[in-house]
Symmetry: D2
Subunit: 320 residues, 4 copies
């Protein structure tokens, strides 16, 4: 009976539990002994792991976060850390590991693969900032959480003829901002991928929609742009509309995952085990054009992706 | 100034308002006079319509249902009905109509196009049963509504060691059932597209998972399969597990739309106006592989699509 | 170190876990050994219980259902069943039991108290049908679940000018129906506590509101009244408004509890342990006029309560 | 036909629309002409009002915010402002006004009553900081919104063994913080009404629960206490647990109201019209011990209320 492991690394994302569940269930059904490794690469270095069975993953598909916990692990990036992990893998005769996380986690998976422990990555991050994927686990839930929160802000903005300037997560990427911004009918969406002129794109747009009778406004600002406090002050000064800045914060990371995140997590976990079953490592499972595919990790880490500018144009035209 | 119209027809779906909003906003921005036609083809036959402006569609993107109302219209399928509609179109000099609805509504759009009123269809139905589309407006929200309801049923099923046999919408298609079933960790999913043997696929599976320690069960049954009451009785009789049938009903049609339904509705509405601007009619806007595309209506109505059997296999393997 | 137990009995209700958590935490803090008894009185008769500590109840306050499971237990009502339970209590030297459930469960608690095992009841049922309480655990969550579902039905009813006739839970009591009915703006609310004349209270009211311009309708019917299918048919026949019956079903029992259910469950669990600490048994903890109080079980079982007819009148006047 | 008015003033709160609806419906049913006054006392001073009928308030009971808009009005506090309002009241022959808002709004209602325009106040504020009321409209929704957001934070705190220090609204009152804190299982709750020693009540408590095996923590801090950023830094420094501060912000004000807020809003609006019908002004409608009552405004403004310290003790004991 061969042993494989599963771990979650980096920021947690809703749907990670669905992926863990699929890896464990599919692993057990395929005759593997499946070890749950706690707190990412930390657990791997220090042997903090336990054998999981079909029931270990019951009733978790609907829960946010990760039952295996997550952590950053600077030590793992050192040669000593890597050596500790390799030693643990030898002790338990680890035949493969599924690593659920982001780009940083995949680098670790690549390095382990190179040293003889075949690893398969699954993209799990709310930010959707992994180049080989159109879609990462947690992204759909995070967008919907943002939307629900902004829908609530809208009630109070509308009641008071105010402008809400809202910073949403996404690190250096504007995916959450762009989609949630369209979904909330934001007057302007500012993302790092598209240069903007504050006067033209915010102030002038607001004035134009004011002429069309609009009295309350939502401005969505990606984390990678930032500066919402100053923006709110400037808007109030220049337009006379009472303005408030809101930073949505870590609430965006949690919550019960959506259908899409649960299904994608399940599919990706299943595919990862298929790859390990075939003895293939150093791969990343991905979703492209709604299909589950997989890539070499090296290749995946060197890809680029760009945001959908058509979508940006749609946003611009219909949010008047 | 050219006049175009927009109507919703057939069953309502969350996200239709996002599409209406995009048509109106984009129409106005492109210099059209946009008429909102009430209650589908009925409103067209009887001239029940009103001019909409940028503010007519404020604060609707987050609301379920359709602000233009919907209705079935048998009269419109008759030659007399069609003639009434054509006459109304002539009166207001209608240069194009955006029809948001399902296959049946597209047939009407095709017939109007043939008689000189260019129509563009937008797929709006929770059932996702339109052949030319991977995805229809309302589908994502409906799946998530089903999932939330089944998550609630799970609480009580688990507390009482019961089996819940749940019928979910989808008419003759199993898309909602398959995806929501995976998302809810259903032990078995029965859909019209895949033949099943009740003894093997339900009873035997339940017995097997019972041996693995499971004591509560969710069985998801598509509307096109039906018969949940009898199934619940048979399950209780054969397995001894107390079983309850639930038909989720029309609750599945409503609710505030998800990000995906709001964004797709916006994109499709925008594209529909682009087509009318170019003078093109007899087209259906669609989403394929996450891209907005469009098809000739004749062609679209003759397409076939099949459910993702890989997904069915994933469901089967990991829901043990 | 004295031993006490906690069990949940009868139908599960959201907030039961908050009460279990408070009993366990408060029990441990007061120096008790706390046993979690599984599946109500069944677990008591067969010794199916385990020792709980502060961490046994971590991360459950937000979960629906009951982590101790629940069951009906006809055997416990027999002399033999009672004797089994008493024997188990002697074996583990049980000094008291907290019973979370409804009237039926309190009868068992009374009988155990009479035989020397002091029991304290906590009212846990979504139906709010316990005479000594203004409010029972689970009631607030169930009302809000009903409201959210009817809000969704409203979207589709409004879009199609339909009438939705909705049966909601509550057994023989109309509390959920009355409150959720007001909250959803139901045109008519039918409850077992108030006799009605269908022609006058449903048909005539609908006609009157039709004259005031209303075209879609919600009729809320308590489980104790029933007959929604026939009502929908009669409404359609007599008013011409397309009508649909919906039975909301067991979805109403589940879901993450509201603040009120979590707080009340916590307060009641805490009070129950206070009583056992004083050596008091045969009591029911209750909420009256927003205060936590407690009653003799005999007394509690003989109380009567009546529904707030003022509230019914408010509903009648403002839902036009 | 006598004329009455209704306005919302101060911060908006979910459930205000239910109260407006009840005032309008009940007003119309009792033969009044009902004027909706926009943007609080501003609309009264400048005659910005419109006649409402039964249908003006259709489909609003489920919506957050206020359809009459709200605003602060420093001008109304001047003698000139008051005179403008009185003049407008004379012009339309205003026989009474229902004022939905907080303490500040009630002072205006008192002054208008003194000058011959009978006013009735309805307590609408999420903060529950009105002395004559156990419960104010919007409070229940705000608590549940906070709870849902903290439930989400919990997912990510748990996954990363972190401490979340969360500031919640309530101005100078700790009601939201105390109840939401219990509901979320907060390790410590800091409110302005109870003095605290940070070392003892936060750091020591965390250390104690750490010994009991807990690795993630929620600290709820009322707005009236503040300082979450510094607290998070201190916690991290002293306990070594990675800590993050979150200020939930204006999201807490919005959202579809709960059953309780919709029902209480309906009852209070109904009672306010009853009072005006009897010619009574200068009253505040209130909820005390779950009953609708009313008070003289002078009296109401001089009342004191204190937070439930028993509840604080429960929180302290069971959140270990």
């Amino acid at each position: 009976m061969k042993t494989i492991g599963v771990l979650t690394s980096g920021g947690d994302a809703p749907g990670m539990n669905a992926a863990i569940r699929a890896v464990v269930r599919s692993g057990c059904e395929n005759g593997f002994r499946v070890m749950g490794i706690r707190r990412g690469y930390n657990g791997l270095m220090y042997g903090d792991m336990y054998e999981m069975n079909l029931r270990s993953v019951s009733n978790i598909i609907n829960r946010g976060g990760t039952i295996l916990y997550s952590a950053r692990s600077p030590e793992f990036k050192t040669e000593e850390g890597m050596q500790k992990a390799i030693n643990v893998c030898k002790e338990v005769d680890m035949q493969g590991i599924v690593v659920i996380g982001g780009d940083g986690s995949f680098r670790g998976a690549r390095d382990l693969s190179l040293r003889g422990v075949p690893c398969v990555g699954i993209p799990g991050t709310i930010d959707n900032d992994i180049a080989c994927c159109d879609y990462t686990i947690g992204y759909d839930t995070a967008m919907n959480t943002v939307m629900e929160m902004v829908d609530r802000l809208r009630d109070t903005s509308e009641s008071h003829d105010r402008c809400s300037v809202v910073e949403v997560m996404g690190r250096k990427a504007g995916y959450i901002a762009l989609n949630a911004g369209i979904a909330c009918g934001a007057t302007t969406i500012l993302i790092p991928e598209v240069p903007f002129d504050f006067e033209r794109d915010v102030i002038e747009r607001m004035r134009r929609t004011q002429k069309a009778g609009k009295r309350h406004f939502i401005i969505i600002v990606a984390e990678g742009v930032g500066g919402v406090q100053e923006m709110a002050e400037r808007i109030q000064r220049e337009t006379g509309v009472e303005s408030r800045a809101t930073i949505l914060g870590h609430v965006q990371r949690g919550g019960s995952p959506t259908v899409r995140d649960r299904v994608a997590g399940s599919q990706m976990g299943y595919r990862a085990v298929e790859l390990l079953k075939e003895g293939t490592g150093n791969r990343v499972v991905a979703m492209q054009k709604d299909q589950i595919v997989d890539f070499d990790i090296f290749e995946a880490l060197n890809m680029k992706k760009s945001i959908d500018l058509d979508l940006y144009r749609v946003a611009h035209e219909i949010s008047i």
